[in-house]
Structures are given as C-alpha cells and as structure tokens.
C-alpha cells in the first residue's frame, strides 16, 4: 500500500491510498457490501453509477456463507463478485460478538454460534487472517476484543490488553505469511479500543501504533454514546496515531458525523446508514433528510434533491419514488440506495476539494448552513 498525505486543512487530511486494485482518494466513504453485494446494487452500479474505489465485505458473513474457501476457489472476492477495485474486510469479531446468541471471548479468541444454523465456531487472531487471505481483501482488520457497554474499567482494561496481545500475534503472523508469499499484496490494520475513556484510548493507541501495521482504525464508537463524546474521543485518539498512515473510523456514521470527524483527522469511514436508511425510506440530501413515504410527496414532480446528479435524481420524481415505496416495489430499493450512496460519496469528494484548497472550515459552515 502506498500512502500519500497530499494536503491538510487544519487537522482535516486529503490523502491517496494506492492498493493492488485501486487508487483511493480520501476522505473516503466505503459502501458496505456485507455478503459481497452492496445491498440492492450490482457491481456495475457500484462502479459506473457511484464510482466507488473501495467497498467493505464482512469476514463473519462470507466465512459462514458461501464460505471463504468457496470464495477463494471462485477467484477470491474480486473474482467472485466481479468488483475489480479495493475490498476492505473486517475481522468478523464484531459480528461474532453481536449476531451470535452465544459469544464467549477468551484469552485465545472468540467462540460463537452461527446465526444461520447454530453451528459452533472459534475465531482466533490467526484464523481470521487465514480467512481474509482466502477472501483476498486489499485491507484486512485484526481480531479485537469487544466489550458490551456499559462495562467496568477492569473489563475495558482487559479488552485493551487482549486486543494488544492479539494485535502482536496478528502482525507477526501476517508478516511471516507475506514472506512465504501469502497475502503479499494485502494490508492489515489494527483497531484501537477504549470506549470514550481518554486514558484507555491513549494506552490502546500508543501500544498498537508502535506495531508495524499498514493503517489504524478507531473501533468501539457509534455504539450509543453522545455525538460529542464520539467527536472528543476521536479528537483525542487521533493525536496518538501516525500521520503517515491511514486513519479509519469504523461504523460511522451520519453525514454530520463524517463532516465532524474529517475535521478531526479521519480519512476513512464505513457505515450501513446510507444503504439501510435508503431501504427504510430515509433519503439524505444537501438540505437534510427526507422521508420519501410522506403523503406530501405523492404528487411532487421534483427530484429528491435538485442539486444531485445521481441516476435517481436525474430521472425520477419524488412522486414516483413515493409510489414505488408505498407499493413495496423492489425497484425502489436500488433507486434509493443509489441516491444515498451517491450523496455520501459526493460529500466526500466535495470535502476533499475543500481540503485541497485549505477551505475545510468554510465547507463545513456551508454544509450546516444548507441544512438550516
């Protein structure tokens, strides 16, 4: 991975990340393709309509179905899904923790039951790297020890200790495998934990950033804390992260969250919000959110967002989308998803332009002004 920090506007950064499969310009929002499909879209949509240079897939989901060995046989993620740009895969730890009825973290890893058939599985730091080798993702994530909040300080301390130990095991195994020619073109990121406690975040960031990872993520946020707690935690944690490597804030967030965290020095984001909300009827626009099922749109001939250049806004009226939503037509899901992801990706392109011109503060002010 080649990383170039091109410009800053105060703490906001415009970078370029070059993987074996694409050149990613940051700030970047990565659409979520849990099962190797960005929900409701096909890969031509992702490429031609959205121009996404990187998407996510979930290790937990692909491991269970169709199975990472099947994916490997079918040409890894790139061959199987036909998406030729970059994939980032999470470690599966979060899903093992949150989707499984039983999930037990021990010193060696996380035991869980499949949410599909109840079968028992055990994820270890090495095991999730093996799986991600099979998936062939451009950026893989380490297994981290997650804690259900609220938790005692003792439990959080244990989580950080374990995450650091697993990170050491992960990076040693990953680099050793690379020397053997396995995953030579892949990259690996560590995940900083510590909740909203600054001392814990300092400790976790300091320990992990001393290791030879290709990039670093901030995990464990956007789990119910106040927005300001999230922003403060990011602002604090970023200080302990290297300037010459990518910074990824996992599972965040609203357009406002993106704007705020870019200002605090984050380069990469992912979230199910634009895709999931699209399916539920919530569309993001330059003037705020719009719930397309509202009766007020029944005979509204305007596009969702007159400033938007997406297929949906260029072609269809709110009235037609309102009708498709109310009639539960499948076509609605794709059109709404295209719009929301286009909005997110375009917002990132505009943020980048502003950083390159060192006008991020003005850009942010204008972003909020339009929302009134």
């Amino acid at each position: 991975m080649e990383f170039t920090l091109e410009a800053t506007s105060k703490n906001a950064r415009a970078c370029t990340i070059k993987t074996a499969h694409s050149t990613i310009k940051t700030p970047v929002f990565m659409p979520v393709g849990t099962l190797g499909s960005v929900k409701a879209l096909d890969m031509e949509d992702v490429l031609d309509l959205l121009g996404a240079e990187i998407i996510l897939a979930n290790t937990y989901h692909m491991y269970l179905r169709p199975g990472d060995e099947t994916v490997a046989k079918m040409g890894k993620l790139h061959g199987f899904t036909t998406y030729p740009k970059s994939f980032l895969t999470d470690s599966g730890g979060f899903q093992a923790f949150s989707l499984s009825d039983i999930s037990k973290a021990s010193e060696n890893g996380i035991e869980f039951r499949s949410h599909i058939d109840g079968s028992k599985h055990f994820f270890t730091p090495k095991k999730v790297i093996d799986i991600q080798h099979n998936l062939g993702s451009d950026i893989m994530m380490i297994l981290d020890d997650l804690v259900a909040l609220p938790a005692t300080g003792e439990r959080i301390a244990l989580s950080i200790e374990r995450t650091t130990a697993w990170a050491k095991e992960s990076i040693e195994y990953f680099r050793k495998k690379q020397k053997e020619g396995i995953g030579a073109e892949q990259n690996i990121f560590a995940i900083i934990q510590g909740g909203t406690d600054k001392a814990f975040r300092t400790k976790s960031a300091t320990e992990l950033c001393a290791l030879d990872f290709d990039g670093f993520a901030i995990g464990g946020l956007s789990v119910g804390e106040l927005n300001n707690e999230m922003y403060d935690t990011v602002e604090h944690t970023v200080k302990y992260m290297p300037k010459d490597k990518p910074r990824y804030l996992m599972g965040v967030g609203t357009p406002e969250d993106l704007i705020e965290n870019i200002e605090r020095g984050i380069d990469m984001f992912d979230c199910v919000m634009p895709t999931r909300n699209a399916r539920n009827g919530t569309l993001f626009t330059s003037f705020g959110r719009l719930n397309i099922k509202g009766a007020t749109y029944k005979e509204d001939a305007q596009p969702v967002d007159s400033e938007c250049e997406c297929l949906t806004c260029k072609r269809y009226s709110r009235a037609y989308l309102n009708h498709l939503f109310r009639s539960r037509e499948i076509a609605y899901f794709r059109l709404a998803t295209i719009h929301n992801l286009h909005y997110y990706l375009n917002l990132m392109r505009e943020a980048r332009e502003a950083i390159l011109e060192d006008k991020y503060a003005e850009f942010k002010a204008e972003f909020y002004r339009k929302r009134g």
Copy 2:
C-alpha cells in the same frame, strides 16, 4: 396505430405496430409492469439493457394506487414512470375478478372490493376507458366478463353475450371520445372469450371482429387447461381474426407456449412468468430451465447461459448468483429478472428473424433440439 404485416412463414407473422410512442416489431413479448415498474428493474434497465419497445401496466392496480388521477397529473404513465415507449394497459377486469374477495359481475359491470383497503368499487365498460384515458396507455383493453372455470355452457354463453355488449358500448364511447380529442393517440383492443370451446370461440371472435377495434386479444386461456387445448383453441380462434390487425394472446406463457402460438399466428404476448420465476430462482436458458438455488451451482464459474448476452451472463457466475439467492440479497432479483426478460425478448427477436427468412419451422425445430 399503424399496422404492417411484413412477412409470414406459414401462419407465423412478422409485423410492425407503430404507436405514438414507439415502433414495435412482432412477435413481441411485453414485460409486465403491474404498478408502473417492471418488478426489480428501473426504466433504464428496461430501455438500455432489454430494449423493450412496449410494456404492460395494470389498470386495476394503478387505479387503486397511486390512483389514475395522480398518474394523469404526473404526466400520465409515460411522464410518471419515465418510460417513453409504448404502454399497454389491461382493463382491470381480470384483477377485479381474481384479486377481490367479493366480485360480482352484473349486466352493467363488475363490482369489487380493493385488495388493499377493502373499499368498494364498480368497473363499467366506460369507467375503465376513462381510467385508461388518465393513464394514457398506447393500447387499452376493453372490460370483459370473466367466468371462473369450470362453468356451465349457459354461464359461458352469458359471458360472451355480455362481453360483446360491453365491447359495443366500449368502442362507441372510445371513438366518440376520440372525436372530442380525448385519447386521440390511444388504441383499443377487444378480448375474445369462450374457454376451450370452439363454437363459443367462433361466436365471440365473429361478433367482436366485426367491430371497429384496433386489435384483438384472446383472453381466458392459460388458466389451467392442457397445453394442447390452449394451442388448439388459439389455432381455431385465429381463423376468425382479421389479418390486418394485431393479435394478442393474454397472459401466456412459457417459452414453449410462445413458440407454439407464434406458429399459430399470434403477434403479442405478456406474462409474469419470466419476472416472477426469476425471483423464485428459475432461470430460462437456451437449453431449458435452471434452478439457480441448486447446490450444484455453488462453485460453478460459468454464466447462467453461455449463449446469452445479457448483463447478468456477461458479468456474473452461477456461483455468485447462487450465493446472492441463498443469502436473499436484493441484487439477485434484478440480475435474475434482467436475464429472464432478456431471454424472452431475444427469443422473440430470433423468431422474427426466422419468419422474415421464412424459416420458422426450422427455427422451432432447433429451439426444441437445444432443450434435448
């Protein structure tokens, strides 16, 4: 509507139908867009990926939701849906008859309750023309009196009598409105009834074809009768239909049904089969049907049909589609629908080529040979 009979190959016909919105080359299969959306596709798919020159919408459904007056305000079907080519709308009689809990046909029309909210409605021959004026379809269908089979000869005779009476009322009203400038660019087809009884079909066809309709449909087939009964009924009925007007077989059918009925002189078809079966996992190919959920496709790197030029076959493997289907990914529905409709529309293009070369019998033999 301009109708040109270009070529025949025995009884099979290649025609051109020119409406105010498109030039339709027959034999033609019309994708079903019940609610103004071909399920799982958007109109760019229908235009650019399928090249469809005519699609269906259902009067019953559009009347109930969003309402034909809303559609009229939003620019009729063409403006509302953005599909710029031809629309055919049925009369709503079939849905009023089949989707409603209560449905009573009387001398004057059909009373029914909405399947959405239970509200009471009454369709008359004039009322469904008024609705179709609001929808702005290029081809509208008359209200016909449907009979649940099996029925007594007496009831079928009454159905034919009523359908003829309603047809007379319809064509008078439609032409009168045209003189007033309403529906001047629209066309209207009558629907021949009579089950699989040849005497009844003769009577219905003779009576209706004496009237000034723009085309004629054969209704009341593909309702559970044997294939040969359907084919025999079509073969018989076609003899009483004019050569210089389009012939439309409603609600039919499988690829085999299309091939057989083209041979018997049918020009136009519609059916939910390619779209509905796609969603259920059944894909149509040049070598027969394929159920994509089968475990045998889990690691099958081939396209669905190696002879197919659709987006789905050019880009994706059976393995990926199998995975999307099994994972219930929304993207599956669109990719499968694109394939099945592409197959149907392409089959019609090939049939047309064969007719133009007067080689329909050879084409049909080859069609069956490939299926083994």
